[in-house]
Symmetry: C2
Subunit: 296 residues, 2 copies
Amino acid sequence: MARLATLFTILAFLAPQASAAPPASMADILAASPPSDWRALDPANTIYLQLPKGRVIIELAPSFAPHHVANIKTLIREGYFDGLAIVRVQDDYVVQWADPDGKRPLGAAAASVKAEFDRAYDIAEPFTPLPDPDTYAPSTGFADGFPAARDPLSGKTWLTHCYGMVGVGRGNDADSGGGTELYAVIGHAPRQLDRNVTLVGRVVRGVDLLSSLPRGTETLGFYKTTAERTPILSMKLAADVAPGDRAPLEALRTDSTTFEALLHNRRFRHDDWYKTPAGRLDVCNMPLPVRDVGGQ
Amino acid sequence: MARLATLFTILAFLAPQASAAPPASMADILAASPPSDWRALDPANTIYLQLPKGRVIIELAPSFAPHHVANIKTLIREGYFDGLAIVRVQDDYVVQWADPDGKRPLGAAAASVKAEFDRAYDIAEPFTPLPDPDTYAPSTGFADGFPAARDPLSGKTWLTHCYGMVGVGRGNDADSGGGTELYAVIGHAPRQLDRNVTLVGRVVRGVDLLSSLPRGTETLGFYKTTAERTPILSMKLAADVAPGDRAPLEALRTDSTTFEALLHNRRFRHDDWYKTPAGRLDVCNMPLPVRDVGGQ
């Protein structure tokens, strides 16, 4: 109820004469957001994946997959991914990058890490639930800036396979993934993968550099020839890049009143174009705003 | 119940020793399908959208949007779309093609057609329902080869905005669309558009030719320059193409026992890779098989 009351407060603030004024747009709501509703991306948990056409920025989710995230950071710092390639682009599914030859040394990193498909949650943890039914989970919402789900019966929580989410490829053994093969979702959320793969983060900038790549024509979207692959020029942690070369990004806190107002806005599209607002929202249809504060 | 019994029959046929044999894969189920479970695409309701890199094939849905489909056919037969362009590619949303200058004559076609957002349904109409909850609709399933939804309270049915679905752009007036601007979904299903736009069909081949296009950098994904646009070489009905130049495609009937078996297979992924089958299926996560029978 406190959350709802705050929501009404912010809505009233945005549209003092709510009954007469047009409803606040998403842009209006963001423009009115207080600085405290935003958080700077942590350079130690932000990846820069450099492709020939630009930089893809990924925010890691150590609160959901601490061991995989740690192993991926080790791989990154050893330069494991530099010079590798995008080897697979399957339409309406995933883009995957890996060592095509499987010969690169792992150094101090582990070849595999025990699965982190889900974890126990504490009811006091920040979680902004969606009130609408979900096909795949008893409850969905947002945690730490990521789309997530919860099952109160088992007491487990997990990240959900929405567009732009990044996961760890694995073999048939649940514990066979380690982070040497990573994928990003570029299609309709393949939610059947939830709790079957370890998700480690999400693309916050440049997902179009992945989603617009030519599709591979072999089974599962693998490229037929090496020439079709997109090279990975480098993959670095933002913390290891000179401060002047970092992208100064802030993400909207998903436990903020601004985010609650956005959720309301997206569930009830009261603008001139929508004739039948859904009154519902799929966890994978909610934009998670990220802004560049370089100019401020 | 009859449907369920038939499903068990086909499953038993596919795996006579169901308790011992490995479960049938999607490929197994399709390989065992009888010819009567397939239907040839109707050339009068099949569009060939020719782009420089290949042909996109769209199946029209006259049972859901008869007036829009008729108007689009008139436009096509007048050559309205030939030489137009893809003007908009918005990541995780839509590809849109239209007359960028809005100057092309409409001939006998109407500039706008009354909205066909939904329609009444008869309970006897073929509809293969999904048993799982959906965020946006009381009931979802498949009708005439398309993903669809129903609301038993209002007695209405409508097509759902899944990946690859094709719709009619419109202005703020519900009745302002006519088919001169068409879009295809290339991202997570924007189901909030359901019942707000008239859907007219779906891409059955070549959606990757649309989804892999470079994204536009202007608002809503419009291209900044004309040079960025992809030209539409032609847009024709299959019926107006010489038989030898047609793609001989068949779609799996969504009211067939084979399709029921596939639905079961996708809800319960009992293979070596899946550790936690979802036991659920989103209407937009079900592949709708189309096969080329040219070689048979």
